[in-house]
């Protein structure tokens, strides 16, 4: 039963993608329906496998007979996979719903004709398929296959508008994430050559020196995908994509694939060398501060949110690194941050979408006093902003607090050092985001904000649901996160 549901959940969005491509102009209802059913299946799957991880291998690769005789491709649902599903699939549904209203010719920033719908929903639903497949992967090989599929979908969706900047941005993203994927492939090949297995736990059977190298390669792949230093330059440029895509791929889903890889690697039941954890943590802290330094010069609202995303992915890596050094609480905090940040950042991005739809611009210097004409967007933006910067009792406070508590469980001066650095960054990013939020929504309205169109109900409903998510995400994530850890 569970297997069939899982396989259905995997296949349904792919079928929906093909259906959308075929239906072209009338793709939207099919897309919404497919996404809704997939969400229902994902929630059912999470509830029915709660507390008892489920594994079922289905397909074997005939050309590997003789070396590996058991099936290789299959389904694996444990708390970490459930958490990933709960982030990816509902936000995917909300993205599809939002896009039905956003991607029309009434959009003041980028009007889109209805002949493009087929192409858009095809790639979007294919992306949902690939994220679902990635979330329930039982080993590195299947993980890699869906990982590459997400890269392709991301390229297609970033270049959706097919003008020169977006084509360049899409190609840049493709190149940089593929460079990381090359290291991923190398790591898988080394593991298979040594242990004849693609399992996550096969990493533990490698000799120590080689294991460190393989972990380093996986880390590089994760960094490339999650836009960490030194690969962080593709994400701000990827904001050329339509805003729902920026919200979904580049805040909630695709970039989370990188941290998900690391979470799986670290939690597969064997010890990760402290050097690698320290490297991961150190680069995470560096990324957080590098991203912070770029906040102050951004005029484009989406680019600002992109840099914020980079910093928050650094937080997840930091949490996982702290978990790798021995403090499980840090690992749990990092993983909880996946769901909390996903919902909070999606809220912010969709607000940016509302603003772009209604006023035609994303430039902070042109936006003032929008709170009067767009009260719902203003409320959602403030809640999202306070949630993302970690103001209690909203979502990201809990995950940040758990990460800091985990850091304090480490011995020596490392804990207080991380504490001081993170609290400084929190205060600075909070101050800046609040300043930007105030600038955009409060104050006397400028001309461009005088007569914005009221966004359609689909966009408003999405925003309301995500705002509820900003408050409720920790309640959903905590039970799952408590089940994780060694």
């Amino acid at each position: 039963m569970i297997t069939s549901v899982a396989v259905l959940m995997l296949i349904l969005p792919a079928v929906g993608a093909l259906l959308s491509a075929a239906l072209k102009r009338r793709a939207r209802p099919a897309a919404v329906m497919t996404a809704t059913i997939t969400t229902g299946l994902a929630v059912w799957l999470t509830l029915s496998t709660f507390g008892a991880p489920y594994t079922r291998m289905l397909v074997d690769l005939p050309w590997l007979h003789g070396i590996v005789d058991t099936p290789i491709l299959g389904i694996f649902v444990d708390p970490l996979a459930s958490l990933m599903l709960l982030v990816v699939v509902p936000i995917g549904l909300l993205t599809v719903l939002y896009s039905t209203a956003y991607l029309t010719d009434k959009n003041r920033e980028h009007p889109v004709g209805n002949e493009q719908y087929g192409r858009y929903y095809f790639w979007l639903l294919l992306f949902i398929t690939s994220m679902v497949g990635l979330a329930v992967s039982p080993n590195f090989l299947q993980f890699f296959a869906f990982w590459e599929l997400t890269t392709v979908c991301s390229w297609a969706l970033i270049s959706f508008h097919q003008n020169a900047p977006s084509l360049r941005a899409g190609f840049k993203a493709l190149l940089m994430t593929s460079a990381g994927s090359a290291f991923f492939l190398l790591a898988i090949l080394i593991i298979f050559a040594r242990t004849n297995s693609f399992d996550f736990s096969a990493l533990g059977r490698l000799p120590n020196g080689l294991r460190s190298w393989v972990l380093l390669f996986l880390l590089i792949a994760a960094w490339a995908k999650a836009a960490q230093v030194p690969f962080q330059t593709w994400l701000p440029d990827a904001m050329e994509a339509p805003t729902p895509i920026s919200a979904y791929l580049h805040a909630a889903a695709m970039v989370k694939a990188g941290v998900y890889l690391m979470a799986r690697t670290v939690s597969s039941g064997w010890g990760i060398p402290p050097k690698i954890s320290l490297l991961m943590g150190g680069m995470a802290l560096l990324t957080i501060f590098v991203a912070l330094s770029f906040y102050f010069v951004q005029d484009d609202l989406k680019r600002l949110l992109a840099y914020s995303t980079i910093a928050h992915l650094g937080y997840v890596f930091l949490g996982i690194a702290i978990g790798g050094l021995g403090a499980t609480l840090g690992f749990r905090g990092g993983v909880l941050h996946i769901i909390c940040h996903g919902y909070s950042k999606a809220t912010l991005f969709f607000c940016a979408g509302n603003i772009a739809y209604a006023t035609g611009t994303r430039n902070i210097s042109e936006l003032r006093g929008l709170g009067k004409s767009m009260p719902l967007t203003a409320t959602a933006f403030f809640i999202g902003l306070l949630s993302v910067t970690g103001v209690p009792p909203l979502a990201c406070f809990w995950s940040k607090f758990m990460i800091l508590s985990g850091a304090m469980r480490l011995g020596g001066p490392l804990g207080p050092l991380i504490l001081v650095l993170i609290l400084c960054e929190t205060l600075i990013s909070f101050g800046w985001m609040l300043y930007i939020g105030q600038k955009i929504f409060l104050g006397a309205p400028l001309a461009v904000a005088q007569a914005p169109a009221d966004p359609p109900w689909a966009m408003n409903v999405t925003l309301i649901i995500l705002t509820i998510g900003c408050v409720a995400a920790p309640f959903v994530g905590m039970p799952l996160v408590q089940l994780m850890g060694k």
Binding site: S293, F296, G369, P393, F397, L404, M408, L419, F430, L442
Partner: protein, 666 residues
Amino acid sequence: MVNAVHDVEVSIVILIVGSLVSLLFARRRKLCGWVSFAFVCASSVYTGLAVVGACTVASGEHTILSLPQLGSSLTLRIDPLSAIFLAIVAVIALLSTLYSVRYMEHYAHDKVAKFFPILLLCVASMTGVLVCTDFLFFLIFWESMTLTSYFLVTFESENAASQRAGLKYFIITHGATLCMVAAALLLWRTSGSFSFDAIRQTLSAMLTTRPVLANAIVFLFFMGFATKAGLLPMGDWLPDAHPVAPSGMSATLSGALVKLGIYGLVRLFCSFLAISPSLKIWGIILALAGTGSLFVGTLTALQQTDTKRLMAFHTIGQIGYICLGLGVGAYCLDMYPALATVALAGAILHAVNHACFKSCLFLGAGSVLYRTGERDMDKLGGLAAFMPYTTGTTAIASLSIAGVPPLNGFASKWLIVAGCLLTGMRFPLFLVLGLIALFISLATLASFLKVLGSVFLGRADENLGIKEVPISMIVPQVVLAALCVLLGIFPQLVLRVIGHAIEGVTATPVAGVNASRMWSGLFLIDGSPVAFWSPLAVLAALAVLALLSYAIQRAGGARTRSVPVWYCGEEHAPATVRYPASSFYLPFKHAFQGIYPSGKVHVPRFPAPLRRALDFDQWLYAPTVKVIDTAADRVSRTHVGILQIYLLWIVIGAIVVTGILLWVRG
């Protein structure tokens, strides 16, 4: 008994529900206001029951949820100290909401949906802060309080000053909260739990084993609470934020919110810290900080011409008094517990009194603003003829804050100064601080005489059409003024509860203030006539003198007639010949001009070389791509398009490969 906690929980739930309900009615201003007031009434009733319950019987605790993996649990408990501050919050919230019902008409452009629901959530957060016994949840309620009050401070969305003030407020207080988070996590590292009891034990143990870390933690907590209370220099947000908020909210901010910072300081220094040499040093630091605040705050207030800004600076000043009392109390807790009780009782009583008179003053300023649209005292004058109730209540509150007997300000200031001077006989620094406090009392009186004189006295143009404010705005002011008088004549009413509170918090028996006899006044230190204050005697004397002067006047039988003011033969409008507020106390203004430094904060700009270094695209990726591009270009030059050249390449390639194979095989 558990019932007191249960009452507080019900109160908080009522406020949260009320917030949602008033959001539904947001389109109709007055209805929204009255609905909110109804909910606040209901919740105040329950809070009142809880306060009474906590003062009479020892309270139990109630755990709502627990997070064992973090060592934290949402456990609520009320002790007499919480009860006092709960009473303050409930009363001020009730009166401010009643006042705001009509006051919000002043704001034609801003929707009430931004005010009443958030105000109710703010009151709920304040109530929650006072009953938490676990630091994690304390922090959540604390930050909710800051969050909601931020939206109330920035209520006027088109006023740039409001926005700036709100931003400054939130950032400074958030920084303070993060200091407290750091302190709590550092303690958690050792103790594994966030509850107040665990913090007390761990901190006490740490003071002997790791004093540097322990004092650092105390410093971080101190910064957190003192910023909220408004102690200088962290309290710089206060003069900007309190004036721009709607006046009902200004009253709540000054009356209730800053008291929660005081509550934190009392818990920190009297309860968390064990009696040790550090406590004496912290006492001195606290007293010095308090004196600094009261000196700078009040003297800056003397120079202000904006009614609400003047009152905001006075809040800083009066908080300075409270901290001075706390500091003396902390210093004396070890060696002279009787004197400590005097000073602590004075400090907490002053917190209660300050809530009464400062809220009354802000509501009065709000009434003036509501009717005239002005906060600038230079443009106001002669309102006594048109707004008698407001004048009366503001006059009573002004005399209270100045510490004029027999009003309530005198009782608490007397206790604080007595504590300072009596301790000063053993440690001279406090003598100096006590004398400064006395002098500043005078400055406070001068400042409020300026307010009364320039706003209410004098004459005004008759046909400006100013009337008294509506009844729902008069009632809160009158109630607060009446409280000022009542607490002035019978300070014993509150002092008994304060005695229990101090006993509970410091775990030492109360000896200093004998407040048991209602009708004969206060005695310090066990009845020996070291110090003695009997408000009833003074009131009786004043009454006798008043009767006497009235009798003399009637006996003299002088005729009184009213005449216009003589301006040496010229006709002047009253507004031009009034003595404006900015002309008061010019020598003081010149002498203390630079006493409150202010600077501008600039948007941070990253140095250009650093930004260039961090721009990986520019120096790493673009050049790499260029190099690969050039190399590929060079390679593609071999594709010349001539068949013979390609055949040549194939032949050469075959020879090379065969050569390599033969070499490897060999």
